[in-house]
Symmetry: C2
């Protein structure tokens, strides 16, 4: 693995001191910010995540705030998901598309009130797209990046830990809903959400100065729960079929190709700039789609596209892969053409270290 | 220094195989792509750059292509620099601003023809801003990221090396002009430009498959010139006052604060979306500005903002710093308030490793 040169441009977070004290071993860069990827080891972190509770610095999920009378109209311009029924206190996973239906980001949107939204973004400068859209349409809305940094608490013991710091009311939060909870006399939005399948919460920490006090309070309160610093885990997220923007999908892909058709209501999402482009694919379906892929044998790190071959014919690509201890196989995410995406289809994958046998699966490992 | 986890999201470049073969020691991530930062050592690379010739993989300078009848109108919307006199074959350094005059990027624009431009970007998704602007204004223009990856040839022997591969015509290219030159029967735009003060060229390598053949041809042709792989050098670029977007300036800053007022023609840049916001600052001048700063003693890596203090009063910040062998001092770039920006002003800088004496300079080390 290569070394990363420090600079101000690769931003630290309100929790960086805690992350370093916990012995972070590796990072990725995400939205020009440092995102931890390994604490003890990817495999140790994986087992721990499935059995205990972890605190994740996911400040890289930068917020784009939309505020003003046209905020809701602007939100609907961004996504083919129909937002009309969405209430304050709800989180929606919203594919964001350009005018051709290409994915620009796959954030979670929080509706704070009718005229105020946070968009908790994946790895692209969605702020630029939203600001220019607001400007071009002369919308009455402020668009900016507030000083809000999400801190995730993930794992089976997340409810127990969160109750100790934020009170019993935390248990009542439903999946993809958020409520407001006090800490040191300040109120924070806390959602039941997160980039793992182990359950947990995301605390939207407003104010950089509140970062380490909340981090420390959680670490202190969870000692007997075996709490530890953690981060999105490559193995667990692939097992769970959690896509990564930039890895498994890009601007080249429609939401339907990404298996996100269920989050699109293209007929009724009136105002969405990509609606016209997506109507046809919504009706006919895509010609390639995300699939779970298993791979035999050992693999190098997946740092580039690995072509999926049926004989000499290229029928797709693998973009994320890791060996799973629990399932004793290499689990992977790929995009596969319609002709070869059926469950059980046997293919070959061209890794950067040679050919491997691969198989398409109907479902991820959940 | 921390380790970086590999993933497809942090894109390899057409020259990555060459970079790895040359023994790259560290990277940064720039436009979601790997940018080498060290080959032999920052200091060795620095001396070599000033005395020989280096090949730099600067693919991270992604291109945004604007093509169509409204391309020139859209370009002028993006920047306060007056583009009316710009001819095909010219490169312009163009501050890009939002509607508040805040810097979104500081690219070099290449005018290929009246209706076709490349914008060679710094580290932000300018594509999103330009695409949305084109959409909001219903402009008749295609905006996309073409398969073009710049390869820089920098150093005092750059002309000698380039002549061997691209012919003697290369010597006639003037500063910030580009011409078209053949390699293996294909034509490439080559500009006299680059992110160093040592002189040289940038080859706009179109087509990923052409990357390694050009890299290898330059390496082979330059053996007796002591050619080596290189990269933008932290020390040399600070000495030369070359700003880094995301380090020394952000969306919070106007071009005038960044000392880029000479690239703004706010009165005549009609159509620029930030023009109204910038008219006042263009007339009155900014209240803080980029300055060369020298620092006494040893410093840690500058991985965050270092406040500049006059006694207990904060009067600015340092955002890039490195020890210069040639000038035997720590050279730095900072933003300083008008009250304290005069040449020779003595200040204190709060590094992450304690206080150091600092001094403001009128000029960079060139």
């Amino acid at each position: 693995m290569a070394v990363i040169s420090p600079s101000r441009r690769l931003r630290r977070t309100p929790f960086s001191d805690g992350v370093e004290a916990a012995g972070v071993k590796a990072y990725t860069v995400y939205n020009r910010m440092l995102l931890p990827t390994v604490f003890r080891s990817v495999v140790e972190d994986y087992h721990h995540l499935k059995h205990a509770v972890q605190i994740w610095d996911v400040s890289v999920e930068r917020q784009v705030e939309l505020r003003g009378p046209d905020a809701a109209r602007l939100m609907q311009m961004l996504t083919p998901r129909d937002l009309r029924g969405m209430l304050p206190g709800q989180c929606y996973y919203v594919p964001i598309v350009d005018e051709t239906g290409g994915m620009l980001n796959d954030p979670v949107a929080l509706k704070l009130s009718e005229d105020r939204w946070w968009v908790s973004i994946a790895d692209s400068d969605l702020l630029f797209w939203i600001k220019a859209m607001a400007y071009g349409y002369r919308l009455d809305v402020l668009v900016d990046e507030p000083d809000v940094s999400p801190l995730a608490v993930q794992g089976p013991l997340a409810d127990d830990l969160m109750e100790r710091v934020f009170g019993g009311g935390i248990r009542a939060i439903k999946f993809f809903r958020f409520g407001w909870f006090d800490f040191n006399g300040q109120s924070f939005a806390i959602a039941r959400s997160g980039y793992s399948k182990q359950g947990g919460f995301e605390i939207y920490v407003e104010g950089t100065q509140n970062g380490m006090p909340i981090w420390n309070a959680l670490m202190e309160a969870g000692k007997d729960l075996d709490v530890y610093a953690g981060c999105p885990n490559l193995i667990e997220r692939i097992e769970g079929g959690l896509l990564s923007y930039g890895n498994d999908m890009t601007r080249d892909n429609t939401p339907h190709e990404c298996g996100l058709g269920r989050f699109c209501s293209t007929q009724t999402a009136i105002g969405c700039v990509g609606r016209d482009a997506l109507l046809r694919v919504a009706k006919d379906g895509p010609t390639q789609q995300i699939r779970a892929i298993s791979i035999e044998g050992d693999i190098p790190p997946c740092d580039r596209i690995w072509p999926l071959m049926a004989g000499t014919k290229r029928v797709g690509q693998v973009t994320s892969a890791a060996r799973s201890p629990d399932y004793d196989t290499v689990v992977a995410i790929g995009m596969v053409k319609i002709t070869h995406w059926d469950d059980g289809t046997e293919l070959t994958v061209e890794t950067s270290d040679g050919l491997r046998a691969a198989k398409v699966h109907e479902n991820f490992w959940i």
